[in-house]
């Protein structure tokens, strides 16, 4: 498979067999794997329900994550208290796993929340502007350095930042600037790139002549490719990279080699730009199926376990549909209030202007 390197870290094959890797070992327990299975399962269902809600006319749009669950949940396992995650806009499984209420995610795509999320101690707001979050993340990581939260002897006081972006964003100017700043300041940040092979309709092979992870070396920090559909490998690699960040060893680039099984968003049609053979090939590398196969092999789950998961997913579906009915619009005051801790003069002026404008409307 093109762009896939011989060095790609894999610990669980597509048919569910555990394999060894000279440098990386999965240190988690079976309970971790069961938790990951549940997170992936429910994340997938949430995604499917949200697509349906878009088709019902309840959401303006939705970016499906089908197929990328392992990349997100493996990474989520490596996040601990004090760490900060800057997502793009497709990290639904990870958002749920890190405790973001589903209503916030839905409100974002229903257009009711104006991008204001309740503070989550680990997971920031989605960013729709491609790649912009990488700059925010590097800045935040530099802030951790300034605050003395990196590289302390007492390991428990250290924190790191993980930022998500896609293969398409890696072609973006902002993102490359973020790489440069991260390297220059040795910022405690992990660039977690979900290479899902397609930037809307543009294949990765057109954007990069070399595997993406190899680019990191040019910026001056290590890059590593991991099987993004292998939740064990993703967790192992993410833990290693986050440890480096917290220790003060600087940035890491992780290329999670995966595949977007669905559309870029509900507004496009992938059958127009890519081949079915390709989708079929990736269907055989499904992240959930391989984990299920492995857990069955070691007798950690049975049919009853999966049935219970499916029932939980059904229940989540009901909650998803119900919760969207409870969403209410944010007010413009809330939007202004959320920009700075203390309002600036310019912002106050803008607020007044907007109020005048809003008052110029009358009831029909």
């Amino acid at each position: 498979m093109l762009g896939q390197s011989d060095d790609m870290v894999q610990l669980l094959t597509p048919d569910g067999r555990r394999v060894d890797h000279p440098e990386f070992t999965f240190r988690g327990t079976t309970d971790d794997l069961l938790r990951s299975l549940r997170d992936m399962w429910l994340g997938r269902r949430f995604d499917v329900e949200a697509i349906a809600l878009q088709r019902h006319g309840e959401l303006g749009m939705w970016p499906p994550q089908l197929g990328q669950e392992a990349a997100q949940i493996g990474a989520a396992r490596a996040i601990r208290d004090g760490d900060h995650v800057f997502p793009s806009y497709r990290e639904h499984s990870m958002a749920l796993a890190l405790g973001v209420p589903m209503q916030q995610i839905l409100g974002f795509f229903r257009g009711t929340d104006a991008g204001i999320w309740e503070m989550n101690d680990k997971f920031r707001t989605y960013a729709l502007v491609i790649g912009v979050q990488t700059l925010h993340a590097v800045g935040y990581a530099m802030g951790l350095q300034f605050d003395g939260l990196v590289g302390n002897d007492d390991e428990s006081t250290n924190s790191g930042v993980m930022v998500f972006h896609g293969d398409g964003a890696s072609s973006q100017g902002d993102v490359n600037e973020a790489y440069v700043f991260a390297a220059s300041y040795n910022a405690p940040v992990v660039f977690f790139c979900q290479n899902n092979q397609w930037a809307i309709s543009e294949p990765i092979t057109l954007q990069s002549r070399i595997p993406l992870y190899e680019r990191a070396r040019g910026f001056g920090f290590p890059g590593i490719q991991v099987d993004g559909n292998d939740v064990l490998a993703v967790q192992a690699v993410s833990e290693w990279a986050m440890d480096r960040a917290r220790r003060g060893d600087g940035p890491t680039f992780i290329e999670a080699y995966t595949y977007r099984m669905g559309a870029h968003t509900t507004a496009d049609d992938p059958t127009k730009y890519r081949a079915r053979d390709e989708e079929e090939a990736w269907r055989g590398r499904d992240p959930i199926n391989r984990l299920v196969a492995h857990l069955r092999d070691i007798d950690a789950i049975d049919d009853a376990h999966l049935k219970a998961l499916e029932e939980e997913a059904d229940e989540l579906g009901v909650r998803t549909r119900a919760s969207i009915k409870e969403l209410t619009d944010r007010t413009m005051d809330e939007l202004f209030a959320g920009v700075y801790a203390e309002p600036t003069v310019a912002l106050e002026a803008q607020r007044r202007q907007f109020k005048e404008f809003a008052d110029s409307f009358e009831e029909d």
Binding site: P14, G57, D269, T271, K272, A281, R285, D364
Partner: protein
Amino acid sequence: MLQTFLLPDVGEGLTEAEIVAWRVAEGDVIKVNDVLVEIETAKSIVELPSPYAGTVKSLLVSEGTEIEVGTPIVEIDDGSDDEAPEPVLVGYGASEAPSRRRRRSRQTPDRSASEAMASAYEQRAPGRSTEEVHPAEPVRAEAVGDPLPTAGEAPSESSLVLVEDNDPRAKPPVRKYAADLGVDLSTVVGTGPDGTITRRDVEAALAFQRLEQEPRQGRVMNDQATFGGEQRAYTATGSHGFGGAAGGPSGFGDFGAGFDPFEGRAERRVPIKGVRKVTAENMVRSVNTHVHVTEWVTVDVTGTMEFVETLKQRREFTGLRISPLLVYAKAICLALSRNPELNSEWDEERQEIVYYRDVNLGIAAATPRGLMVPNIKNAGRLSLLQLSQAINQLVQVAKDGKLQPADYSGGTFTITNVGVFGIDAGTPIINGNESAIFCMGSIQRRPWVVGEGADERVEPRWVTTLAVAFDHRIIDGEQGSRFLHDVASILAEPALALLF
């Protein structure tokens, strides 16, 4: 209470869509997210799942109608007591809040907001068809970049099955569909997600049942089921090709008893658009440029029919639909290798004749979206098994109405099959810029003279008429005739393929 589903904007900023096919009927009991309807927008064909569970009360828009976003399309009784209506869909819909408007407006907008938005984003204005935005005219697509990943590493079938379940799994509309057709779901193999049974699977099972039950004698042996099924362009849906079907005049589809497509008037006017328009333009261009000549030959293809039966018994062909079309396609590829003039194109602009090394074999298909000619890339280099797999896949995709531009661009030679409809032969029109087209007629039991001298006698044999139309600018009678003769020889005696 009665819930009304409004046509949502499934893209970003789309203003209208066409109702392509209803997947439910009035009276159907449905669950949340059962597929209600297939719609086509400027961007794609999309299935709309139901927001409500309950009973389908009425379908408010008929198939083929283009409607604006926000139009009520279906009413569903959710079985609850009446209460206040559900508020607010995103951006449209029945908002309960009073609408507000600007008191001092300096300019009176002369366009509606949606039109203004549409033009701002260079979306199409209401009323233009999909094809005007995305012309269906084939372009020769060059593959860009490196080859796509190939299959492999797929886990075994068993590890993909998550929950073992003996009950056949199918959604309620499919269950009803199967019940209506008298198909026992426990006999159907599901090919949908997680092995669920789809409408197509039910149809395939039905076609198989009929094939089993039908007496062999006198049967029209062609690919009736190949491109039949869900097509609406022909009324012969589900029946064995010609005649017999219950539908009305061609093109109106099956709307059920009591539906009057004329709405009481003496004529019915349909705008020329979409696939019909593109088809018409292509036909006119073909007739005005190619110098068409058609030749026929009637031949005993009993050898081919026996060969088809042999193939069906072969283990490697298990699960594949084997039909005479497969042998025809192989014979044509072999004959083209010996008569390359028929695999060519006239380049008027450069005053050159382009001969193609590879045969991209087009197969004319009546698809849900109209006449399309998807082609099998590099068919000449495929083994019989690979060719069979390619045809099966093409048929499936065409039947699903999911052909991609790459599927129907770059063709070099076309097969059309009027035998499907019980027709003996025809004078086909050459497809696109190609130089020849082959027409399959029906294969029927006919009296045929066999043997010689004292042994001469009349026997019932499988007999058919083959036709080829070619462009006389490039292809002389000699070459056209040699080609047709070669095809006929192989079909009469498939072993002769060894000579090619």
